[in-house]
Amino acid sequence: VNGNQERGWNDPPQFSYGLQTAAQGAPKRTPLNKRVPPPQLTGSPCPVPGDFPSATAPMTPPTNPLAPPCSMNTPPRPCPVAAPPLGGVMATPPPPFPVVEHTDSASSQSENEPDVDDVVTLLNWALTACRHTVKKQVCNDVAKRLKLFEDMWKSGKLSLPVRRRMIGLVQELKSCNWDAADEIHRALIVDHVNEVGQWMVGVKRLIAETRNLNPDLLHTQEVDQSLDTSSAGNSD
């Protein structure tokens, strides 16, 4: 995603939370840290240590950067322009076909449109369990935000990536994978703060409170009932 060129000149592109997190943990793929000695060396008698070492592996000596002019480097003409060298293919271009870029990688997942009720049911399952021990004020505040989330979904205000990722989040919640659910909430609020900013903190709190519950509370009769019913019942 491109940066905001209206507000900031040369604004860098925006990366997703997941991409940045992965990049920060991993070693560099192609370190760009080499320099070239200039042609005019002063001929010092001593060996020159620290000769632009790379930060990682020992490097091979740099090659002469000024390669001879390419034979295909025809003088520029306004129109038609000399074509770039072909990758071993005949000069006559085949009929072009459009290249469509899929911005939503989730299209490879299930083709079914995510169902809001599935998500809300699971969220309410967790909230119901919390009501035993967590302060009423807090639970009501969470419920208020879950309602906002539901309303936004139903009125089409949430984009597909957000909806898909919320499905993933509640699945992790159901499986008691608290860290995974937490990480999804974090990715969502970083990547889509304008959509989720008002209600996501309720989900965040829900995860935090649910993980601290006595596991027995997660499977009381009334809780399981709320999971079984097809329509999400807000008991309060």
């Binding site: 320099r35 000769d51 322009v81 000399a82 060298p85 903190v201």
Partner: protein, 740 residues
Amino acid sequence: MATYQEFIQQNEDRDGVRFSWNLWPSSRLEATRLVVPVSCLFTPLKERPDLPPVQYEPVLCSRANCKAVLNPLCQVDYRAKIWACNFCFQRNPFPPSYAGISDVNQPAELMPQFSTIEYIVQRGPPNPLIFLYVVDTCLEEEDLQALKESLQMSLSLLPPNALVGLITFGRMVQVHELSCEGIAKSYVFRGTKELSSKQIQEMLGLTNPSASGPQGRPAAPQDPAVTCRFLQPVHKVDMNLTDLLGELQRDPWPVPQGKRPLRSTGIALSIAVGLLEGTFPNTGARVMMFMGGPPTQGPGMVVGDELKTPIRSWHDITKDNARHLKKATKYYDALANRAAVNGHSIDIYACALDQTGLLEMKCLSNLTGGHIAMGDSFNTSLFKQTFQRVFSKDHNGEFRMAFGGTLEVSTSRELKVSGAIGPCVSLKAKGPCISENEVGVGGTTQWKICSLSPSTTLALYFEVVNQHNAPIPQGGRGAVQFVTQYQHSNTQRRIRVTTVARNWADAQSQIQHIESSFDQEASAVIMARLGVFRAESEEGPDVLRWLDRQLIRLFMFHLRRSPFLQVFNNSPDECSYYRHHFVRQDLTQSLIMIQPILYSYSFHGPPEPVLLDSGSILPDRILLMDTFFQLVIYHGETIAQWRKAGYQEQPEYENFKHLLVAPVDDAQEILQTRFPMPRYIDTEHGGSQARFLLSKVNPSQTHNNLYSWGQETGAPILTDDVSLQVFMDHLKKLAVSSAA
């Protein structure tokens, strides 16, 4: 270890240390002939994924004015269970818990591969980290909305048990109570009235007059009644704070035509510092200040509210026409020192199209280790992602930020410490290793670094004090020990100890060996830091004259070209911003700032580094330039025409598409991880943004500007074709001039 290059690299990888000289001249007289002193770059918390911390206290030398830590250089008598300190030669008994050690059962800290080792220690109850947001509300609506969203988002990124607080300011300053229930309250302060720390604490109700002890004394930090109102655990107040942030309005005070909004930044900061001082002294805390323009009222104002009076430029400053500069700088300097004393760091996130006063305020971050981020608007990915990366985590999933750091340096007796340059303040500790010649922050062997990251790097300067005729045993080594105590982001207290040694050499007979141990890159950065330090603390022309005297003109010219001393092409704020990053980054990043990296992409082979020279700009090449602050992708003339004609869309020209994408892909890694986020410039031959590349490769522009600025340069510049390599060669040759 065949070459010095390998030796240098291995030592950097293991200990985070790069010395200017890796063989030290054994006498003071010889050492003073070195233009580059014995000095090093040191990265206290260099990432060491392979170094597991040990869970016990370090063993210290018992001599009162030594206190060095047991290390691999110490002589050990395993039978008598005694060790000899390699710094002061005191013989110390091992503690009882070491009864079982032997030469085949060594504790880790004695093994050579643990020249760097980290200890986890128990020092009282763990203190939570504190994040205090100080937010300017004199922003345009779009900017405020974007900032609010970033702050809401950050609540999900904070360490879970952290305490969080909110101060907003415009014409007035509001300290918000973050109660869990009921109506949100705030305490309002006038933006013009300077208050003492005690007065601030009283007005916020932080002092308890009925408590035993002197009147007006702040209550103990652990007292929940005192702390609960303004600094609350984020896991308790995240929902309320999200709403509170969402409801923040622009400063209601109307801004007349031709005027700037009244911003009381100085008072807002003073309240933030005073609040933390009174509640959590000596605990890791970050004040994070977000501002969209300069301070325009109250103490610390940088410019008045009349738009027709522009904010000071370099021209104003040299003409002594910047009326608020001295007073404002002094004001923020005092605040910075107070914060540093308490171990609190201050970040500045300044987003505006014009200057915001970084020149006056930079000490707030430079002295405390806080960040400075500079952008055009809060509604840019540059700000948003830079801010996100403050909370970045390492491969272990732990936050990279660390707090409350102190660094103590011990040296063997032939060496003394002249000082340090980096994001630190002096702890003014007296000791036997202190040199009388001060370089940077001197007069001490202990410094405080309130906030640090794995890349934070200090430059340390030493003095050889051994007398000319005093013998040093053949093969004798000098040693330096760095002891860094800090609070890890998981609130553990840790101590990292690095002990290094280098051989002494007689300069008379071994001058060639000493020369071959010279680390050009480290020396370049070390001397450049010294130049920048002097430029910041003294008048500009004096620094350049000092450079003229100290070093060769080539070096001076090269440094002149850099953005650190090249003030005429950058505003005072921009200079402050670049210098802030230069004096704290590690060696690799610092070198990029002095001489940017240039890679060339073509059909003729894999991407290759090329000279930062106009001769590298060719029609059929794509260039990727990294200046640290900018990433520039420049398309040569022919490439640009092909791109415009759309060949990359055609399947049979897929190789061209790959060529276009290659530099973008390589830039991605840098863009995804660098802090701060760099600007990203995609340009081409004839493009307006091409100047970013052209100004770096073409020195003649700079050359002319030098003279138009009216600086006295002394002798003429030698040549326009000066490069890092050439200057380094000259530096090396002239650095050792024993033959006078």
